[in-house]
Amino acid sequence: MGSEIASASLEHVELVLITLVIAAVLGLPAAVLILRRARWRRFVVGFVNIAQTVPSLAMFGFLLPLPLVGGIGKRTAIVALTLYALLPIVRNTLVGLLGVDAGVRESAEAMGMTERQILWQVELPLATPSIVTGFRLATVATIGTATIAAAIGGGGLGVFIFRGIAMYDKSMVLAGAVPAAAMAIAADEVLGFIERRLAAR
């Protein structure tokens, strides 16, 4: 049982990490691209907001019959998890970038920095604490939601939870829930620490 929990935990971590990497690769550039395009911003934020409101079990259900992204297995799970992780990442990146002091931005522009220099040397560094907050929220949420991935064959710690529910076995449920919760708390602490360090600068 112990080794089973270990390998399920590993699988869980894998699901979460892949999800976060994809969400970051999509979310960060998306936030930067829509930063100065108000109409696109409403559209994209609206989309990720709506994605967030779909109950996770239903989301997995919706994705199942779709070609390419659907089907039984990890891929579908990762697609669904990514859709959820996008919201905190996109939103917090935007909040951070838009929150840069207007005077700082104006000076940067007036001193002759190019848009690219302003983005990389001023806006992104100043938005970093907020971006890390987005990652922390996305990580904690993904660790929790990933347990549901087991419903569509995604594996991970959710396997024990679903098996425990089916078998009416409380300790089986706990074998999945406790490591998942511990993982979420640990991730929250570590990223929270980084966040505080960055904010203090």
Partner: protein, 248 residues
């Protein structure tokens, strides 16, 4: 004397409102033109037209004899020092890094930048050994504005644009910085366009005063002329500052 900045018949609209109307203004080498006016008189907008932060609708601006449209915008801005009321420094950069911004953007060699930064910090009264590695939030408001001025001077620009740089300071610090600014202006011989709503400040720092009213130039005068003028708006400013002279 050569004109650094020539503005002729400039008009500007913002959000459908006519903010500037037929402005004529010249800034010669080495002189500070104080742009005085009430809130909403268009003085900040005029400043922003000069460095292209705000588009103009009609008229012409020439900087160093060349039309604004003919300049590469980035290159032009690096030749215009810019200081705003507050918040202009990059909070995540040290004082030295802030001051060295434009020379670094211009790709000057590091040792030269360091020397220039030290010299400038020294000349605004902030010893580089003590202040160079601090962050803006570790400075007082007055010190931050000094850094802002040092940064504006760093690339040795022919023109300085200042938007109420001392307005947020306490009266004592403000007076101190105004005096220091006049000295700096003399030693660096820069042309400057200095926006202010404070008539005392305008008289103190300006070699010429241009009074804006509802987006148009109401009066252009030397400080001496300004004190004695019968221009209605100027009298309002002088009176509000308790500076109205007898017999008028």
């Amino acid at each position: 004397m050569a004109a650094i900045l020539e503005i002729s018949d400039l008009s500007c609209r913002l959000d459908g409102r006519e903010v500037l109307r037929h402005i004529d203004l010249t800034v010669e080498e080495g002189e500070t033109v104080a742009l005085l006016g009430r809130s909403g008189s268009g003085k900040t907008t005029l400043l922003r037209c000069v460095n292209g932060l705000v588009p103009t609708v009609a008229g012409e601006i020439r900087f160093q004899g060349k039309r604004l449209a003919a300049w590469d915008r980035i290159a032009m801005r690096r030749r215009m020092g810019y200081v705003i009321q507050e918040g202009g420094l990059f909070p995540h950069w040290t004082v030295a890094a802030n001051v060295g911004l434009v020379p670094r953007l211009e790709g000057r060699p590091e040792p030269e930048i360091r020397g220039r930064v030290n010299q400038l910090l020294e000349s605004v009264g902030l010893p580089p050994d003590e202040f160079g590695e601090r962050y803006p939030r570790q400075l007082s408001g007055g010190q931050r504005q000094r850094v802002g001025i040092a940064r504006a001077l760093a690339a040795d620009p022919p023109l300085l644009l200042l938007d109420e740089p001392f307005a947020a300071l306490d009266p004592v610090t403000r007076f101190d910085l105004q005096r220091q600014f006049v000295e700096l202006r003399r030693s660096f011989r820069k042309a400057a366009l200095f926006v202010t709503h404070d008539v005392r400040e305008a008289l103190q720092v300006g070699s010429r005063i241009v009074l804006l009213r509802d987006g148009a130039v109401d009066l252009a005068a030397s400080p001496e002329e300004f004190r004695k003028t019968e221009n209605e708006e100027a009298r309002v400013f002088l009176k509000a500052a308790g500076m109205e002279t007898d017999g008028l």
